[in-house]
Each structure stands twice: as C-alpha cells, then as structure tokens.
C-alpha cells in the first residue's frame, strides 16, 4: 500500500482512531454523566476533524480496484458524518441510552459511519458485501441496545434474521455473477454483456441474459433490504419501534443512503455496457418495486397509532419515491435521488428528534401523546410541522424540491411507464399528506385547552432550529446543494 493510498483512506483512519479513543476514554471517567458528556464531545470533535480531513486531503483514486475514492464517495462520507454528529448530540440527551453505556453506543455508531463510506466507495462485489455487513452488524447491536426492553430485543432478533437471509441471498447472487464474469469487480461484471456474443455459441445469449438478471435480482435483494423496499421491508416498523429513538433516526437515513449509494455506483458502471434487454429488465424490476414500496408504505402508515411506526412506514414510502429516480437510469435521475437523500437527512432526523423529545418528556410514543403539543412546546411542534410538511412535499419546504426533481426526472424521460409511475407517486403524495396531518391535527387542532407548558433544553432547541432552518432555506434556495450533488453524481461513469 503506497502513501497515496493511505491518504485516500485517511478519513476512515481518523474515524478508527476515534473509535478506540472513545472506548478507552469512556473507561477513564468514573462518573457516568461526565463520561457521557465527554465522549459525546470527543466523538463529535473526531467527526468534525474527519470532515476537515476528507475535505483537505481529497483526492481521486482507487485502492486495488476494490475501493474508489471520488467526489461521490466523499459526498456520502460527509452525509454519514453529518448524520452521526446529529445522532450523537441527540443520543447524549436521550433517556433511552444509559450514560454508562454511551461510549459503547458512540463507538458502534462510528463503525457504521466507516461502513457507509466504504459502501459508497466499493467497486467490487466482495468489498461492497463486507462494507454492508459492517453496517448491518453494528446496526443489529444498536437496535437491541436497550437491554432491559423486550421489544428492543425482539426487534434486534427480527433484524438479524431478516438481515441474515437477505445477505445470504445477496452473496449467492454475487457468486453467480462471479461465475458468469470470472471476476467480482463491477467493471468486470459489466463486460459479461460484451463478451457473451463471441465466446459461446449462438443462442446462448438469452441464457446468459437470464442468468445475469436472476443474479442481479439476488444482489439487489440485499440492497432492497437495506433501503427497506417492498417486499423486504417487514423488519422496518418493528426495528424502528424497538430501537432507541436516536438510533432509529440514524437508521432511517444513513444506511438507506448507503444502500442507494451502492446501488447507484453499481448501476452506473453496469449501465453503459448493458444491452437493451437488460436495461428493460432492470427498469421493470425497479419500477415495480418502487410503485409497490410507496403504495404499501403510505397506505399502511394511515392506521398507525405509534408515531415511530408511522414514520417507519413513511420512510418505506420514501424509499419508493427514491427508487423512482433510479428507474430513470441517467444522470438527471441519479441527481434527483442524491438531492432527495440530502434533504431527507434533515427532515427525517428532525422528525425523529421531536419524537425522542416527546417520548422522553411524556413517556409515550403514541400519536395521542402529541395532543396540544403546539401549545405546550411550541418550538418542537412547529419544527415537527415543518419536517412533516417537508416529508409530504409541500412548498416552500425542501422536501418539495426533492420531490420536484424526482418527478421532473421521470417526466423529462417521458414515455408511458415513466408518466404512469409519476402519477402513482403523485397519488401517493396525497395519501401521505393525510397521515402526516394526523399528527399535526393532534398537535394543533386538538388540546387547545391544555395549559401546561413543557420545557425544551437548549441542545434540543438548537438542533431543531438548525434542521428547520435548513428545510426552509433549502426550499427557497437550493442552487448550491444541487451543484454539489451534480458534481458528486457527475463522477459516476454514466454515459
């Protein structure tokens, strides 16, 4: 490994040192509250330092054709870092995570960050699989982090079983692809379609095509599991409900983004070489899953009584919206996906932050706990309103911009199926608004008579204000973000 290659992975190295530092330092403080405070501080400093490192030492390059470091990778690294900072701040205030075990929580969270950055960088199936398992394993542990809660254990177990099956299917698909291509690198796999005509006798193209499609579906199964797309979404509501709320927020955003990063890079390398049949097959699968995911997610969310479960189904629906952008299979569509993810980060984490605050103060995650919140905790309620309207895609909030870009990508592509998918997406948005307003109704339209204000500490106020400001600002002026995103996506080797 040359020095150049080491500079490429310097952010990951810094993070690894951070993990060890957090674990060691966590033991030093005898007082658990002090340990919580200082590990939070130190881990945030490490994360910010990683941000600096990744910007200052930024270079483009490969490591042994396994990992590719470019603007796209860096974008998702920064994305995960941003997520982690917000999550650690929220977790440090949470009652669900005991102070004594906080360093452990932080260390595990940082390993997920590393895993996510590697998932975005992977250009080899093996590497991608390892990175994904890194994310998954830490996620399993963190889901079951509340040792004394049955529901948390159940969630973790479900997650492990589902995750195990999904990654098993994925590895099997990868082995099939290896058999077809003789290599596990993305670019090697892309060549299957180039050589198929010449190597074997005529007539076998169809067989190879079919085999490739089956293998690809299996690989995608792993990704669909990660992003919680139908029909691999069953774990999602239980896990979201059972996991400690700060981690639920993280789980609903960061691993999902990593799944999309992996998918985008994989598809973007596969695509230029692929023949029409394969493209059509890919499109049909992605389109179908997209439509099914958003419809099922939205319609199931309508009847949820627990806000965390409601947001879980909403995040399933959002995976469906995001997949719409992937189906376009070009730069415009991918831009829309990544832009939406960046916006989704703030609105979803923000929404979960409010849920955490309410659950910690009132001891309940049910919608009824939110009654009159608008008059008891104005800032929290206003910001939740902003996040929910943003998730529903109402201008002038950022979520609308995200949806606008997704629909724009579909309509630009034209064609019967794309317009149909856009129409399905639009009908879904109306349904989504209905269940988001159930929470708003509880917060504002009811409980006007409740006159007992609740306290909000400055950390929470700060985080909510920042996320809310981001939603409004990005909804009014998103030019810088869209530039950033298109540079990141531009480094993918699309046609």
């Amino acid at each position: 490994m040359t020095f150049d290659q080491i500079t490429l992975i310097s952010p990951q190295i810094v993070l690894s040192i951070g993990i060890m530092a957090v674990l060691l330092l966590g033991i030093l403080w005898k007082n658990p509250e002090a340990a919580r405070k200082y590990t939070a501080l130190i881990s945030i400093l490490f994360l910010l330092f990683t941000v600096l490192v990744s910007i200052a030492m930024h270079k483009t390059g490969d490591i042994s054709n396994l990992l590719r470091f470019d603007t796209f990778t860096r974008f998702f690294l920064l994305f995960a870092l941003c997520c982690a900072v917000l999550t650690i701040i929220l977790a440090s205030q949470s009652r669900e995570i005991s102070a004594r075990r906080f360093p452990e929580f932080t260390a595990l969270l940082l390993t997920i960050v590393i895993g996510i950055s590697l998932m975005a960088a992977a250009e080899d199936l093996l590497m991608a699989y390892l990175a994904m398992e890194m994310v998954s394993l830490s996620s399993y542990i963190l889901t079951g982090f509340k040792k004394t809660h049955r529901i948390s254990h159940e969630a973790a177990l479900k997650y492990v079983i589902f995750g195990g099956v999904a990654s098993g299917i994925m590895v099997f698909g990868m082995s099939l692809l290896y058999g077809l291509a003789g290599t596990t690198s993305f670019s090697g796999i892309a060549k299957i379609f180039l050589d198929s005509g010449s190597v074997v006798n005529a007539g076998s193209e169809t067989v190879i095509l079919l085999a490739t499609i089956v293998a690809l579906i299996m690989v995608f199964t792993g990704i669909f599991f990660k992003i919680a797309a139908v029909p691999f979404h069953m774990w999602c509501p239980d896990v979201y409900q059972g996991a400690p709320t700060p981690f639920t927020g993280f789980l609903s955003v960061a691993p999902k983004a990593a799944g999309f990063a992996f998918m985008l890079r994989f598809v973007s390398i596969l695509l230029p070489q692929a023949n029409e049949e394969l493209k059509t097959a890919l499109l049909a699968i992605l389109g179908l899953i997209s439509a099914a995911t958003m419809t099922l997610g939205n319609f199931t969310a309508i009847n949820q009584m627990n806000v965390k479960r409601l947001l879980a189904y909403s995040s399933i629906a959002h995976a469906g919206y995001l997949l719409m952008g992937v189906t376009v299979l070009d730069q415009v569509g991918f831009n829309a996906v990544v832009l939406y993810l960046a916006i989704y980060l703030f609105m979803n984490l923000g929404a979960f932050a409010v849920v955490q605050i309410v659950a910690d103060t009132l001891g309940s995650e049910d919608i009824s706990a939110f009654r009159g919140l608008g008059y008891r905790m104005p800032l929290a309620a206003v910001s939740l309103g902003v996040f929910l309207f943003s998730l529903a895609g109402i201008p002038p909030l950022a979520g609308f911009i995200g949806k606008f870009y997704l629909f724009a990508a579909l309509i630009k592509e034209g064609g019967f199926w794309y317009i149909l998918l856009a129409m399905i997406g639009i009908l879904n948005s109306v349904v989504a608004l209905f269940y988001y307003t159930r929470i708003l109704k509880e917060m504002y339209l009811r409980g006007l008579e409740i006159e007992s204000p609740l306290q909000l500490n400055w950390v929470h106020s700060g985080i909510l204000t920042v996320a809310m400001a981001a939603m409004i600002f990005l909804g009014l002026y998103w030019e810088p973000l869209s530039k950033l995103v298109s540079t990141a996506v531009g480094t993918l080797s699309l046609l």
């Binding site: 008059y375 309207f389 109402i394 201008p395 002038p396 609308f400 606008f404 629909f407 724009a408 309509i411 630009k412 034209g414 019967f416 317009i419 149909l420 856009a422 129409m423 639009i426 948005s429 109306v430 608004l433 209905f434 307003t437 109704k441 504002y444 339209l445 009811r446 006007l448 002026y477 998103w478 030019e479 869209s482 530039k483 298109s486």
Partner: protein, 506 residues
C-alpha cells in the same frame, strides 16, 4: 420594459410583519391586531396606487420584477400584472384588509392566527402576480398551509373534517398541475433567461405563451399532449373554482371556517381557479381550449343550475351563501368559454363583483352568528324590527347577489349572458332562467329571517357595531358604484382581455 419592485413589496410586506407579530407577547392583543391590520393596509395602499398608475391601453405585462432564482433549473423570480390580474391583485389587498378588521373578533391564540393570516395574504398576492410557472406553483401551494390551520384551529365544530378535506382536495388538484407544469417545461423551446444566458427550457409563462406551440409535442399516456395537459390543469383549477362535481369541499370549508376566513375563501381563493384557467390554459394551450370550450360551458351551466337548486334546500345561512358561490362562479366558466368580448369581460368582471358581494354576505352571516350563535334561517323571524340597519345592508347584498339591475352583480351577469348567448344558446337560456331560482332562495331567506313575527329570544339583539360597519360599508358602496358606473373598471381590463381571445374566434 421597465422594472419595478412595487409588486414585490405588495407581496412580501405582509410576510415581513410576521416576525414582528411573533415578537409581541400574546397578552398584548390590541397591539397584535393593530400590527396585522397595518400590515394588510399597506398592500392595499400600494394596490390603490397601482390602479392609478396602471396603463390600461397596454396589453403587456406592467410593473414587472424579474431576476434569476435557480439558474440550474431555469427558474426565475418573475412578477408582473396585466389587465387580467390587476383587478384581482387589488381585490385581494382590499378583501384581506377587510378580513383583517373582521378578525378583531378572534380572541384565541391571536398571534398564531394573524401570522398565518398574513402568510396566506402573501401566498394569494403572489399567485396573482407570479409569471413564472414554478413561482406560481409555489405561491399556489403556500396558501394551503395557513388555510388548513386557520380552518382547523379557529373553525367550528366539524373543523377537523373540513380542514383536511379542503387540504387533500386542493393538494390533489395542484399535484396534477405539477405534472402538467413539468411536462410543459420539458416540451418548451430553447430560449434565454432575463440576463441573456441561453436556457434549454423555460418556466416563464409569457414565453410559454408567446414562443411555444405545444400542438406537435409527443403524446402523454397515449393522449394528445395539449389535451391531456389541458385536462390536468383544468381539474386543478376547477377544484379551486369550485366547479360541480369538484365543489363538495367548499360548503364544509365555508361553514366551519371563522368569518374572516370564509370572506377570504369566497372573495379571493375561488377566483384563483378562474384566473388560472385564463392565464395558463387559455394562454399556453389555445387549441385545447377551443376543443374544451363546449365542455367548460356545459360544466359552468351545470354549476349554475345545480348549485342554485341546492341553495333552495339549505337551512344554514352560511351554507346557502356557499352554494350560491358555486352557482355564481359557474358564470365565470360560461363567460370565458364563449370567446366573445362580452363573455370574457363578463367572466373577469364576475370574479371581481363576486369578490365584493360574497365577502359581504359572509360578513353578514358572521354578524348574526356572533349575536345568536347559530345560523339557522328558520330560527329567526322579524329581525327587521330589531336590527333595521343590518336588514338593510343584508338586503342590499342579497339584491346584488341575485343580480338586481343597478348593482354590481347585474353588470357582470348580463355581460356573460350577452357574450354566451350567441354561442351556447341552450345553456345560456337555462342559466338565465336560474336567476329566478336565485331570486327565490334569497327572497325566501330574507322573508324567513327578517319578516313576520319577532322571535322573543332575539328581542335584545344589538344592531351593527362600528367595526362591522367599517367592514360592510366600503363593500356596499363599491357594489353600488360599480352597478351604476362600471365603465372605469371595464376600461382597465377590456383591452387585455380582447387581445387575449383574438385568436379564439371561430
């Protein structure tokens, strides 16, 4: 063309007042009300100034403010007014100001109330001024949020149902509009942005009208492009008008909304549908408009006749007025579908006169509700003895609404009939005959509420207060003036409208 920031000031002045209101403690109710009223008075003053300096012989866009907003998507900030929108901008400023005064009666959570109220005003003014389709859409949607809360928090017993129904209905319509907006964008010709840089596509409504012909665009979902886009846009706007059969949200929203919000809903929000059809459908898709005109006339006619009959059966005064709005907005559709000078002028004038009359009716319904705490038409009787002034003003509003010659409603309705008769004889005859029904339900209501024996329960109801006079009389005076001498108003709009439909004549 001359740049001017006056419209930007009109649009955003109410928005600027919101932080000021939020900074005042909730207890200082008087201060909050004063600030809010002042914040809605300023756009009105600027609006009057706008009317004075508006050049009615110019058919182009005036007072435009134009710069690039999001370069990477060719989105511009572009506002301006022409003969089509000038009256509606003024109407919005006027009605909002009156509604702000009427809102002094609101007593709960008034900081939140006035903040949302002013946000709503910004959205409405922006919609009428925006000439970039994206900007138009943003303003259009911005109105939904405050409206949901204004109905949902300060509304009547079934407020939750009414608020969500309004929200979902309108959102559905506007999302269809979003599809149409994007499809139009991606099929538009290359052009330049305001600073001269080339742009592949455009959202600029003026350019979409002048430089594009969508009749050759590829079909969408198997339908002819212009036709499906027309239908998508039309449904979005028809829900707002509201046209039968998309009108069912309106009675609920009106009945549950607090009085000032009903005033705004009837006075301004309904006009957006008509305005949208004229600005977007007529402008950008002329051929599809000709194709759809008979259907528009028929649907307009059905709205007129059906809603009038529904009015006959109403027991709640507010519901009666709400359905009469549906009926009267049908005239707008009928008038514009005729493509005659009188027809289209009548349609726009009808929006303006209905924008004066229906707020007055809702204010009057609010007056009686504040005193008696119910609005059952049959629950009163003989009020004329107890509240003579109220009876007089209400009589004037009823007469104006049923189209009595000499009052504003008559002018616009007669223009619509004159314009539509040569083109759609049967529909026009039925619509004109409906005026009898209209007269019947108004007069019957008048009789039941004000004549006969005074209900003893109400023997001590006070007559109009000064605040109520202040909201009612300006509207009444305008209605009378407009009914006797409508020429100045007509001059403002005729030139633009006539040039707009020149190409539509068959």
């Amino acid at each position: 063309m001359m740049e001017s920031t006056i419209l930007t000031w009109i649009i955003f002045l109410p928005l600027i007042a919101i932080p000021i209101i939020l900074a005042v403690p909730e207890e200082k109710k008087r201060a909050i009300r004063l600030i809010a009223t002042l914040a809605s008075a300023l756009p009105l003053l600027l609006g009057i100034y706008l009317l004075i300096i508006f050049d009615s012989s110019n058919t182009g866009i005036q007072f435009q403010h134009h710069f690039i907003w999001i370069r990477s998507f060719n989105i511009e900030y572009f506002v301006g007014v022409d003969g089509l929108s000038i009256l509606l901008v003024f109407l919005t400023a006027l009605i909002t100001f009156i509604a702000a005064i009427a809102s002094w009666g609101i007593d709960r959570k008034i900081r939140g109330y006035f903040s949302l109220f002013l946000l709503l005003e910004t959205g409405m003014l922006g919609t009428f001024c925006a000439l970039d389709f994206f900007l138009f859409y943003v303003f259009w949607e911005v109105m939904l949020l405050p409206m949901y809360f204004l109905i949902g928090i300060w509304g009547g017993p079934r407020k939750e149902y009414a608020a969500i129904k309004f929200f979902l209905y309108t959102l559905f319509g506007s999302l269809l509009m979003l599809v149409a907006l994007l499809a139009l964008y991606f099929n538009s010709n290359p052009t330049t942005l305001i600073d001269g840089t080339p742009a592949e596509h455009t959202f600029n409504i003026v350019k979409l009208i002048q430089e594009n012909d969508f009749s050759t665009a590829a079909p969408l979902l198997g339908f002819e492009f212009t036709k499906i886009i027309f239908v998508l846009l039309f449904i979005g706007f028809a829900i707002k008008i509201p046209m039968v059969p998309f009108h069912t949200w309106l009675p609920d929203a009106h009945v549950e909304a607090p009085t000032p919000i009903s005033v705004i809903l009837a006075g301004i929000l309904l006009k957006m549908g008509g305005y949208g059809i004229l600005r977007i459908n007529f402008g950008i898709l002329p051929e599809a408009t000709i194709w759809a005109a008979p259907a528009m006339a028929l649907l307009g006619g059905i709205s007129i006749v059906y809603a009038a009959f529904v009015c006959m059966a109403q027991k709640d005064l507010k519901k009666l007025i709400a359905y009469s709005s549906v009926s009267h907005m049908g005239f707008v559709l009928l008038g514009m579908a005729a493509f005659t000078n009188q027809g289209i002028t009548g349609a726009v004038l009808q929006m303006w006169t209905h924008g004066l009359i229906s707020p007055m009716l809702f204010l009057l319904a609010g007056v009686i509700y504040d005193r008696a705490h119910h609005r059952e038409i049959d629950g009163f009787g003989g009020l004329a003895y107890q509240m003579p002034e109220y009876t007089g003003v209400l009589g004037l509003a009823f007469m104006a609404s049923l189209g009595l010659p000499g009052l504003a409603g008559f002018i616009s309705e007669i223009l619509v009939f004159l314009g539509a008769f040569p083109v759609y004889r049967v529909i026009t005859i039925f619509s004109a005959l409906t005026l009898i029904i209209t007269a019947a339900y108004y007069l019957w209501a008048l009789q039941r509420m004000f004549l006969g024996k005074l209900n003893d329960k109400y023997s001590n109801l006070p007559d109009l207060t000064w605040r109520e006079r202040f909201t009612l009389y300006p509207l009444g005076v305008l209605i009378v003036i407009l009914g006797i001498y409508p020429i100045p108003t007509l001059n403002l709009i005729t030139t633009t409208l006539v040039s707009m439909i020149q190409n539509f004549r068959v």
